[in-house]
Amino acid sequence: MFFVAPAVVLLVAFAAYPLFVLIRMSVSDVGPTNIVGTWHFIGLANYIQVLSAPDLWFSALRTLGVAAMLLASNLVLGFLAGSILSVGGRVTNVVLGIMVFVWALPPIVSGSVWKFLLDDNGAINGLLHVVGLARVSWLSSPNLALWSVAGIIAWAALPFSALIIRGGLLAIPRDVIEAAALDGAGYWRTQFQIALPLLRSTMWILAILTVLYAFKSFDFFYVVTQGGPGTATNTLPVQSYNTAFSGFNMGLGATIAVISMLFVALFAIPYVRSIRSESDE
């Protein structure tokens, strides 16, 4: 079938081949001067350098921290929001519309507005000041910045998980829910004991997607903190990008990229499996 040929050609040239180049870069000494030209093969020197420095491990921990926060937000808040939005009329539709709009906004836009809102003189601190609380250095404090950005990402990602969970809830047959109600179960008991178990496979896929998303998250960090202050918000993708494009060491950046891809693969394999078993049915 040559219907698929153009897509395959394009993707091999501009997506698969670059991945191969990435791996070749990670075992070479590549800087801005020889990016076009010959690369010296240096074996695993880049890997040894990266893995023996503490920076990479701190970045990995930060990435896992972001993933944990996103998991909590997407699954717990997502389930609550999905529940709230699976009933009701016009207000629900309006709220859903706004949320999906925000989710579809380019991260460069939603990142910029939060950078402004969380600025030391921004609206959030202004609000805290008005109600008599102390101002908080959301983005300039090294201890807090990572969680502030993670919060922004969670805010931007919640609409998607709420939408998916809502879809799952609406697909549950009404008589199942009504039977539980006849047995005298209250709303939240029904939600947690009947609906939640029925959504297990959806929640599972959502959880994997969320972890993958955390490892992919780069735009928000780039827009809001660029890894700073210092290295306080360096996650794996941010560190690899900064090493390559600010530190001008392409080889080392590629090495960090390959290592974080291995992390991604760890979570991607069960996802690909579950998708394939679903489409085989």
Partner: protein
Amino acid sequence: MIGKPTRGLFSVLRIILGLVYLLPLMWIVLTSLKTSDQVLKDPNALLFNPTLATYQAVIGSGVGAIITSVEIAVCVTIVVLIVGVPAAFALSRRISPAWNRVIAIILAALLVLQMVPQPMTVIPLYSVLASWQLLGTLPGLILADIALLLPFAIMLLRPFVLAIPTALYEAAEIDGASAFQSFRRITVPMLSNGIVTVLSVVFISSWGEFVYAINFLPEGTVLPVSGLLAQQNSVYSSNWNGLMALAVLTSLPLLVVFIFSQRRLINGLSLGAVK
């Protein structure tokens, strides 16, 4: 069933949820209507004289950026559709066991490509584009964007193609239609919902893409709106009103798409996203 107190609580929670998402959007628009002086004096003022001065300044210097954005987004969207729709068609037709195996391999590859983080592709693409003399050119950036969005587009289109009953194809085959004829006469017309969804999503994404744009276009060229916003953002400044006006311009296509196809987009995304 939902009791009365819960129902009341729900209404309150729904409105809070809505405000959590609505207020930042309003803040963008509000700030873009202020002048630099007003923002400098009190960035959080709620009462002020709204003015379009910021937009005049931004658009005056940013016409080129808007044109670049349109060029990129239109080219990317057209190519992704021209290449992606036939691919989604081919990957949905289970015509022989051998082909089924090919489908499984390609689908797995697409899933993997979709999961590769963008900073991991931006590093090697920089050198690939450079060695093919495409670095610093608009076509190079467009090709990179296409490769970024194509896997997602195909995966999003496939459930729509699968929803077309196979009996239609069988009937066409009996009438002697070639694969190309069934594609043109059956798949494309019945795919309008899917095509609109993917068209919107790809257009919005390529309009908002900035990581490739700031790295692959040479310094001193006209960046697209999103790239301009990213560049302005990284320079330390308190030109918040200018930033927010650029943010509004960057979100404009999304707004247009939303006004026309909100319901279709929400339904289409729920259908294709998790499958």
